[in-house]
């Protein structure tokens, strides 16, 4: 029904509705849509090198969305086009969710040079990473060159989001349980910039000392390499947001000056391949009733008969290769 070539042309021409529908296609779990999705991906396979993919992560309530609004408007002032992909975790038991990001980005959402798309995190084949990866490519094909990906910093999402992006911005606030010990070491290692947000009013002193502590421990952590930069921001008053945007631009330039930008993206493409192999295998299993039954039966045997998991996996793989 949908003509992919036409859709792609419309995306290239900056048609907002076309980009939105293409993202829907990527988010779709319907098997009929997979072929079209692949076709679309083929069309925008070239990696845009003049883009910057920025992950914005941090605990709920630290002011990520409001900060993204400020950052986005700064980027646009410098002539960029900004896409914000917000991954919302608020899925309910029934699969539904509430996506309220635009209430926090009212000015950015009205701006002609911005595109904001909140997506629920649940229920995508291949997971959030797969969906986000492809959506980034679509946004770049549509001419957006600052891609901001907002995720909530819980569990594994920081490390997976760092595998999709060029830079990671971590948003924190002083007090409120977000102490230094609260930030996992594994997360700290992937961060390039920290914004200590809500640096306003009675919070200013606590923010400054929290930032100083963070700087020290980030230095220790990085050893000889460059430590993540720590900036004070207030999304409320706008203080520090311009400086944050400049810092991100500067980091982006210095990454592109040496090879690290390209090699990071190449690594990410290799990882994409690995992920895709796993994903396609899973796909194959769940779409083939015989394989699906076998898998379920083998899993059951691990529990009921104490079958060795390795042996069970081997018989499943053999069945796939034989099929």
């Amino acid at each position: 029904m949908t003509n992919i070539d036409e859709l792609f042309v419309a995306i290239r021409e900056g048609d907002r509705a076309a980009l939105a529908r293409a993202i829907t296609l990527i988010e779709s779990r319907r098997s009929d849509d997979h072929a079209m999705r692949l076709e679309l991906l083929e069309l925008c396979h070239t990696d845009s090198t003049d883009s910057l993919r920025l992950a914005v992560t941090g605990a709920p309530g630290v002011g990520k969305s409001t900060l993204i609004e400020g950052l986005g408007l700064n980027f646009i002032e410098n002539g960029a086009k900004v896409a914000v992909l917000a991954i919302d975790p608020s899925s309910t038991r029934t699969g539904g969710s509430i996506l309220g990001d635009k209430t926090r980005m009212t000015n950015l959402s009205k701006n002609e040079s911005a595109f904001i798309r909140p997506s629920p995190s649940s229920g995508f084949l291949g997971g959030v990473a797969e969906m986000t990866r492809e959506t980034i490519l679509l946004c770049e094909a549509a001419g957006y060159n600052r891609i901001l990906i907002e995720t909530v910093g819980v569990g594994q999402s920081e490390s997976s989001v760092s595998q999709l992006t060029d830079l990671v911005l971590y948003v924190a606030i002083s007090g409120a349980g977000d102490s230094l010990q609260g930030i996992k070491r594994g997360i700290l290692e992937t961060i390039h910039v920290v914004a200590v947000n809500k640096n306003d009013g009675s919070n200013e002193r606590a923010s400054a000392s929290f930032a100083a502590d963070l700087r020290n421990s980030l230095k220790l952590l990085k050893g000889s390499g460059p430590a993540a930069e720590v900036l004070l921001t207030s999304a409320l008053t706008g203080n520090g947001v311009h400086e944050l945007a400049q810092t991100i631009e500067r980091l982006c330039h210095s990454l592109k000056d040496d090879d690290s930008f390209q090699s990071r993206r190449l690594d990410q493409r290799r990882l994409w391949f690995d992920d895709a192999v796993n994903y396609l295998l899973e796909q194959r299993i769940s779409s083939d009733p015989r394989l699906f039954e076998l898998k379920t039966a083998l899993k059951g045997k691990i529990e009921s008969e104490g079958t060795n998991p390795y042996a069970a996996a081997l018989s499943l793989v053999n069945a796939i290769l034989g099929s």
Partner: protein, 708 residues
């Protein structure tokens, strides 16, 4: 928090109680006007004595009944003026002005963002000339005027003062009340303009001005009404209203005022719902708590600790189905307010779930109070139910529960801080979602809605407002005022206002009065202040799971969830709906309850920001690629804004996105909206699972047609 006690301030306990008249009933009983403390089981001090549980005054209605004060404002100053004058002739003692949403939000009628809002839900006031028409031939030195204004309180007070001045009435002789309660705007009502800190400064500035120049004027009416309407339970309404009041008192004292110079003029405003004894107890509890909260400021004047209040029957309790039942509901609520000893009362008209009242329905509403006042014995004694074990127990329980909510607020550093963290808003919204689930699963009965539904509905005549012609009239008058005025004087006065706003202690209202004299408009004054203070953008936390957990009819809910799963399997994604509000209508209870309930039933729900134009909402709908846009409308702008939204969607190539509407939509507008392309209209009282299911059926059918 400071330990609160009941001990009365020195010199207040020993006052003698004046005599009240006794009366003889038709049975020949000689009945006293007041039953003494010894009659009340609790041995409470009598009315008029600290802590005023039984009433703020000793004799209460036995000497002077409550003031019948009907809130009204219709589109234009001319129409409203005529309405006020008719009512004054008919026995009303005070008047109460409702402003339109554009005025509330600080926009002139010619602003592009208020196209659908001018003249809706109240009168449009752009300049002092409109205010002069509003009060034409009404003697302002003899008439108490209540004005419901919060966001644009400065220009409105300035226009009021200048209109009086130019008709020869001095500022000092003006009496009445200005709502001026901005904290609850951030919590529930959303007609704010500036961020919280400058908004609080404006509140204090008005209180300061009144304490200096307007001895007969209540400079603030701390309001719980809107919390009740937004879904707060009685204890939440009580606690947050008093905590708001406390915050204003503290701020005024910090600003250098002496407690007795303004506290006697702090008034309150509560909503009255259907639980008769709870509402009586709520007003008694409010007086008790306020007296004990005020003790920490050591007032010398006993009036500083007396809570005086206006009450309004609940608009939310009215139903669009079987609307004649609303007369009974309003009467019952009025009885509660009276037995709780309110100082003034507004009774709602039976058609207020559909539109602004007609002259006929407004007359019934007013007569309801006249009947209670003059045909019954309700005014004949003080604290009629005092001593009832049930009432005393309820009063005590409400006091205790409210105290613990106030303590929670106190622990985070006061109401301003609690609001900035979103605590009260969240509590109230959760209460609203629970309440809706109880109604939708028939644990709570509403006659004619979820039980005893009528087979046919009476066709009520509904007041219709021609919003476009009101706007034309206002724009013309604005042009006239601008043509006649001395622009250099306007500019100078606005520069002066801007300078006053930039100084931490600048006198704002004086500067606005000067600008009003020069014929600066409400929009110009507000924009000048926005350029210094900024414009506030509301951010609300959302939650899921509350609705589903309170809903007891599991099978109904599961049916909808099952349907949403069918849709998911068919289309590859969850049904996605954008729940949005258009224009300046900030009443978002309905929208937010719908959002959380739909998410609980398997929808992906986008919530639109408040105060959007149709084109902004259309853009969000296409960017998020939703299946449906659901517009919640309560302020009567649907006939202008919804067709515009549909046009924008078509222009963006997405005419296929469904548009549905819900809220206050009169029966006779449904055809108009459907002709304009609205897929479905859900009136008030629609059960949410029913709406969610019906919508899914439409979506499933549509996607089956679309799929080859």
């Amino acid at each position: 928090m400071k330990k609160l006690t009941y001990s009365p301030p020195p010199g207040t306990a020993a006052r003698t109680v004046p005599e009240t008249s006794s009366w003889i009933s038709p049975e020949g009983f000689q009945l006293p006007g007041r039953y003494g403390a010894s009659d009340a089981e609790e041995g409470l001090p009598p009315a008029g004595q600290f802590p005023y549980t039984r009433g703020p005054y000793a004799s209460m209605y036995t000497v002077r009944p409550w003031t019948i004060r009907q809130y009204a404002g219709f589109s234009t100053a001319e129409e409203s003026n005529e309405f006020y004058r008719r009512n004054l002739v008919a026995g009303q003692k005070g008047l109460s002005v409702a402003f339109d949403l554009a005025t509330h939000r600080g926009y002139d009628s010619d602003h592009e963002r208020v196209v659908g809002d001018v003249g809706k839900a109240g009168v449009a006031i752009d300049t002092v000339e409109d205010m002069k028409i509003l009060f034409r031939d009404i003697p302002l030195d003899q008439m108490s005027v209540s004005m419901t204004m919060n966001g644009a309180v400065l220009p409105v007070m300035a226009f009021f003062i200048v209109a009086a001045e130019e008709s020869g009435v001095s500022t000092e002789s003006l009496s009445g009340t200005i709502q001026n309660d901005v904290l609850k705007e951030f919590m529930v009502r959303n007609t704010f303009i500036y961020p919280p800190p400058p908004s609080m400064r404006i509140v204090s500035d008005v209180i300061r001005f009144a304490s200096e120049r307007m001895p007969l004027f209540n400079a603030i009416s701390v309001s719980g009404y809107h919390m009740l309407e937004a879904g707060a339970s009685a204890d939440l309404e009580l606690a947050y209203t008093l905590a708001d009041g406390l915050e204003y008192v503290k701020q005024a004292i910090t600003g250098g005022l002496k407690v007795d110079s303004f506290a006697p003029r702090v008034s309150f405003f509560f909503g009255i719902g259907m639980n008769v004894m709870t509402e009586v107890a709520k007003l008694r509890a409010a007086r008790t708590l306020w007296a004990e909260l005020m003790a920490q400021f050591n007032p010398k004047n006993p009036k500083s600790s007396k809570l005086r209040t206006h009450c309004q029957t609940s608009g939310w309790s009215l139903t669009a189905q079987d609307p004649y039942n609303n007369v009974a509901r309003t009467t019952i609520e009025a009885i509660s307010a009276i037995c709780g000893h309110t100082q003034s009362l507004h009774t709602n008209a039976l058609d207020e779930a559909l539109a602004l009242p007609t002259d006929e329905s407004a007359t019934i509403a007013r007569n309801t109070q006249l009947i209670l006042q003059q045909e019954t014995d309700i005014s004949k004694a003080v604290d009629l139910f005092g001593g009832s074990r049930y009432l005393e127990d309820l009063t005590r329980k409400l006091i205790q529960s409210a105290r613990s909510h106030i303590r929670e607020v106190d622990e985070v550093g006061g109401m301003a801080e609690a609001i900035s963290r979103g605590i009260p808003k969240m509590r109230i919204e959760q209460a609203a979602a629970k309440r809706q689930a109880r109604i939708d699963s028939a644990q709570e009965i509403i006659v004619g809605v979820n039980k005893y539904q009528a087979s046919s509905q009476p066709q009520l005549p509904v007041r219709e407002i021609d919003n476009a012609s009101v706007r034309r009239l206002q724009v013309k008058r604005l042009e006239q005022v601008k043509a006649d005025r001395d622009n250099s004087r306007v500019e100078e006065s606005l520069k002066h206002l801007s300078a006053a706003a930039s100084e931490p202690n600048g006198r704002l209202l004086e500067a606005c009065i000067d600008a009003a004299r020069a014929r600066a408009t409400l929009g110009e004054i507000s924009e000048t202040l926005v350029s210094v203070f900024g414009r506030h953008i509301a951010v609300a936390q959302s939650f899921t799971g509350v609705y589903a957990s309170e809903f007891t009819e599991r099978s109904t809910l599961d049916e909808v969830i099952q349907q949403s799963d069918i849709f998911f399997n068919q289309t590859g994604r969850r049904p996605r709906i954008l729940v949005a509000k258009l224009g300046q209508d900030g009443h978002d209870r309905g929208a937010r309850v719908i959002a959380t309930a739909f998410a609980d039933m398997g929808y992906d729900v986008d919530i639109g920001p408040l105060f959007q134009t149709p084109s902004e909402t259309a853009r969000q709908a296409i960017e998020n690629d939703v299946h449906v846009v659901g517009i919640s409308t309560l302020a009567g702008s649907h006939k202008t804004l919804i067709p515009e939204l549909i046009q924008h969607l078509k222009d963006l190539g997405r005419g296929d996105i469904l548009v549905i509407a819900g809220g206050v939509i009169p029966e006779q507008d449904i055809g108009y909206l459907k002709d304009a392309g609205v897929a479905e209209v859900f009136g008030p009282g629609t059960l949410i699972p029913e709406a969610a299911g019906k919508l899914l059926a439409i979506l499933i059918e549509k996607s089956t047609l679309d799929t080859p």
